[in-house]
Symmetry: D2
Subunit: 372 residues, 4 copies
């Protein structure tokens, strides 16, 4: 009998990019087993995915509601232990709610919900349930992002002053007609923001995580450059964080030629750090009077935590799927160890508060707005 952590999945039917990614991530380390799923709102598609994945027929459900009920009815050592939610955004909340109320931990794709109100409601549900709740802020899964946070926490760059964070893509520079683009530009499924909700939240999350500071205020200018699009496809803001930190955040999906260019640069009184998602195995560290250093993945001079985040020795590049797998494995191990943390919802609430503040500021001619 395998001792792997048992996972169910809602969403992620045929052709869904993010569902496939979650499965790669869950599989990589061999410590998690996909035991059931409600992969699609079409029962047929759901079945075909289940077959492809080698699930048992009786663990393939026609809807997420059925799945919660069906799994809850199984013996404790067989039923799924957590649900991965990989649906379009508008379903994140109802599925998470159903899962938590049925007694299952949740690992949800981001954003946590469609808006701040829902996020706060979900926070209450999480707290009430006492079940673990995690959000796949994938980019925090990169070990050098954790190293950056650790260096700052230890005072390695002195008091933080300035942050530049960006998440720039180009794939929506024109009207795009595919499944991925479709729901992202549809307010009903994506929420009240397009680009900012989709990727700006990752930039916000990264900035708060790396600096260890909360972003408190912002002044934003959001734009929809492509005619006929109903949501923002670009935006920038000035922001302020706790303790006098200032910065700029930009997110765009119309910067032609950019792929998935998430990057952060943080400068403190005595040093700086720079990291780019597209070359995630390198962390640049700057000093006032010494040469800039190139910190590299899996090297012995990194903190033990960062070293442990790599599966291979230096020079064997690890990437997005490994970062994603780190998020999964950390969640699954915590689940087994102590039931996991309920605090993951906090990031979801903060993300939604950030988006809400952006929209408010942008609609008020870039007035400074508090993020709360």
């Amino acid at each position: 009998m395998s001792n792997r952590v048992r996972m169910g999945m809602v969403g992620g039917g045929p052709g869904a990019f993010i569902g496939a990614v979650h499965r790669f991530a869950a599989r990589l380390d061999g410590e998690i087993e996909l035991v059931c799923g409600a992969f699609s709102s079409s029962a047929e598609k759901s079945k075909s995915m289940a077959t492809e994945l080698g699930l048992k027929a009786d663990r393939c459900y026609g809807s997420y509601a059925e799945m919660m009920a069906g799994e809850a009815a199984l013996p404790e050592d067989q039923r799924m232990e957590f649900v991965a939610i990989v649906t379009p955004n508008h379903m994140h909340f109802p599925v998470a709610k159903a899962a938590l109320e049925a007694g299952f931990a949740v690992l949800s794709d981001k954003p946590a919900t469609l808006d701040l109100k829902e996020a706060k409601a979900l926070r209450k549900i999480v707290e009430r349930s006492g079940k673990a709740y995690g959000l796949t802020h994938t980019y925090l899964g990169y070990p050098l992002v954790g190293e950056a946070r650790g260096i700052i926490e230890a005072g390695g760059i002195g008091k933080v002053r300035k942050v530049f964070v960006e998440y720039i893509q180009g794939w929506l520079a024109t009207e795009v007609d595919n499944k991925q683009a479709d729901w992202r530009t549809d307010p009903k499924r994506s929420g009240c923001s397009g680009c900012m909700g989709d990727i700006g939240t990752h930039a916000h999350n990264l900035a708060e995580f790396v600096t260890g500071k909360r972003m408190t205020h912002l002044a934003a200018d959001l734009t929809t450059f492509v005619d006929g699009r109903r949501l923002d496809d670009d935006g920038s803001c000035l922001f302020r964080m706790e303790d006098g930190v200032k910065g700029t955040l930009s997110a765009s999906q119309v910067c032609v030629g950019n792929e998935n260019s998430l990057s952060i640069r943080v400068y403190g009184e005595t040093g700086g750090l720079e990291w780019r998602q597209e070359e995630p195995n390198t962390l640049i560290r700057t000093y006032a009077d010494q040469p800039t250093q190139i910190l590299r993945a899996a090297q012995g001079y990194l903190s033990q935590g960062a070293q442990d985040g790599f599966r291979t020795p230096p020079g064997h590049p690890e990437g997005y799927l490994e970062a994603f797998a780190n998020v999964y494995i950390d969640f699954a191990r915590a689940l087994r160890t102590d039931g996991g943390a309920t605090t993951g919802i906090e990031g979801g609430v903060r993300g939604m508060a950030f988006v809400e503040a952006l929209l408010k500021s942008s609609s008020k001619n870039s007035k400074w707005v508090e993020i709360k």
Copy 2:
């Protein structure tokens, strides 16, 4: 008898960084001759510099006023043809005024003046004099910057949408006690802005030049991070340009480890361009459906104008001094050809208007301010 263009210099005495740079630039191509100078407010220092430079004793003047008078008294084919002004900022205006009114063309270090009012006054003086006026916006002297402008002008990236421009240094991250830092952080000599006046204006100028659009509005947040400093040492703004272009501009002198990191990225409907001053021989060009291209200095596929801006073949890196020399040689050749242009003052006025708008916006809690 040499046929070189005759130049005088005001400022640039012993130890003055920018004066030496102007002389390197003027000398490089062998078409300009330094014939006189008033290098320092100290007559002794001025003399020692004149001697070092091999000037004739009677062309070394005790003050700029003396110089204007002395040179004007010389036969036309001997007197200087233009004055290079390389004093601290607060002297730019009075020297330029004196030179123009004495009938000499002016090539001034930037900023043109201490503030917008002065800049507009200088504009009138220039117009009245009919003499050529140039401003050493050094970074426009890089041929690939011109290439970028040319590509955009020709529609190479489609309608421009978004601009990211930055000028980031780290050398003022702590209190710095030297001549360079001294006047830059002194309102009397530097003007009403520190970092933004010193380097932010280069970023503004670069953005307008490359896109061919005027920046019309901005919303700024300026900061003085170092205790006791009297002027801004960091700042960011959201901005808008003509024709719906949007962007962000940041300038900082407290980003530890950054040297002289001026960079611009411009994205249009069909492509993008990226250029960094610290590797000025490379221009990155992006496309929607084709591989990104690396355009390189002096290559035959560049426009003729860009090719002509290089002195050596591809792979022989050219840098800051060559860019600066391009500014000089263009000014000097125009002077001989047709008397040169009086329009250089326009950039000076725009730079001052930009700084004034920044200060106004920042003081009004980042309200949008028109640049006029």
Copy 3:
């Protein structure tokens, strides 16, 4: 009942780097199932690994011989379909021989055998068995390596002239006392070459694969820089390939600060290609009269084959484990489709012939030696 391809493993017990990597690779796509293993020469260690991996107790074997017998005795739809060999080098041959003779396909870590004689013997065994034989030349699993080959094959750089290929590491620059270093520098377990057998063969293999040409002659200079080491830890050779191609190949494990720096540059009459393993998602393409291009992972302008090799969209870096997984998935799918190819052994024979030629040339004062 899962329809995944059933794999057994020999070697890869606790702490074995390459065994873990093979398992990551096999697991990633969810199409391969590890069903049995003989993980260690210690029965105890083997058991503990089997438990950790969730194998059934009766599929954990005390030795590879037992495993071949045990699996052969199972019904065809339950027994393993292929054996992954991840032992130290000296065991590759006997295990492969046993597996093939017991009717199982083999996917072996490289090198195929300890020397050329053994490799040729193994070739005969493979041919006799008719069973698929694959060698995990991991670096060929990077899709952009395949793209490079495809471009050259299609004449994209014209007739090939010159190749630079390198595999440079630094981790053995001093005496290293650990399990990884141990067997690699022990002639009995590693074979007659250290650095060249371990990593030089990857460089050789990459050069032949990308150019589509066989390396025919070489003139080599191998060195042991670290005192007391019994095998080469560095070497370079001049080489010639079919059709007049020339090149240099270097491999080293004493280049301090290098991690796993495998790279290739190929130049033909009309263009060139450059690829580096440490940034495997970028392929540089050069032209005579056009800007250099940056070809990037997963982009639509790549060949379909290269696109299919990526699991995520552009900008989501994939790395070493994904490349390794590509080798596995290709092997496993071929096995199911048509039984797989027996030709993989050819690469093994060529690798051994290359090493033998290196040793011969180096011992004869770098005389040109034919690789046969």
Copy 4:
């Protein structure tokens, strides 16, 4: 009266690339004055160049012989102090001989002579004359090249083990029909080697300078890839240096897309250094157990000597012309200080010995040949 060092020039008439470069270099610092020249074998072209350069008519000579005689007849404080030789290679020797014998110091473009025999003859002439002799090994003028040498000299990377040095261009990948290509591929004017004599010698020189070791033996494979060309256009060699250092050197002019890619990597027992001419303001330094460092131009942590080699602060890129100017200024200052060194010819002899060894080895099937 200017106190600048007086220089004459032989060669460098209209359209000559390297002559113009020498003049830029001599001019940049304002400490050298071009006072006379014999720019072309055509008197007319020579005159037009003299006029363009503003030389006095009586200092423009019809031939180098006339120039030596004419200048020698002038008062000591007016006559030129040294001759810059910028002719095609075959004239380097006769002009240098004439200058030295007429009592003038020489700064010659490289190579010093057409072959080793001539170089040794010139060495005798230099020694007999007691006059300063310099060779413009331009790339040694880059301050970070000197820094690399200094680090190694001070034991900063431990005992040197391995060197990779390359000089790769692509501009002769096809038959090229221009003045530059013309003489370079003509044995009469270029000497017995094409690519190796032209650029391979720079790589050799760089390797010896940076390591402080003499290259003692090599095994070479030279090639002429372009049909009809009479000299090598590509080549690689294995080499050995004093004290057990080993390495590879490649030079090529047919690597399509490469511009002027001179690079060196040196690894010792405890560290390494990497430098590339196309980004000359960066020196990479590697360590066994610490992060790689990026050493940058003009930074305060460099040696004083390296700092002094830069004219501008960090982040203001300096390039090829500045490096060339460093060679000039060092030569001119030494001349004034103590008459300058006669040892520059040593580099010329070594360069010719290197080329001779290459040709001998390549003609003997890459046999190891001593460089003497």
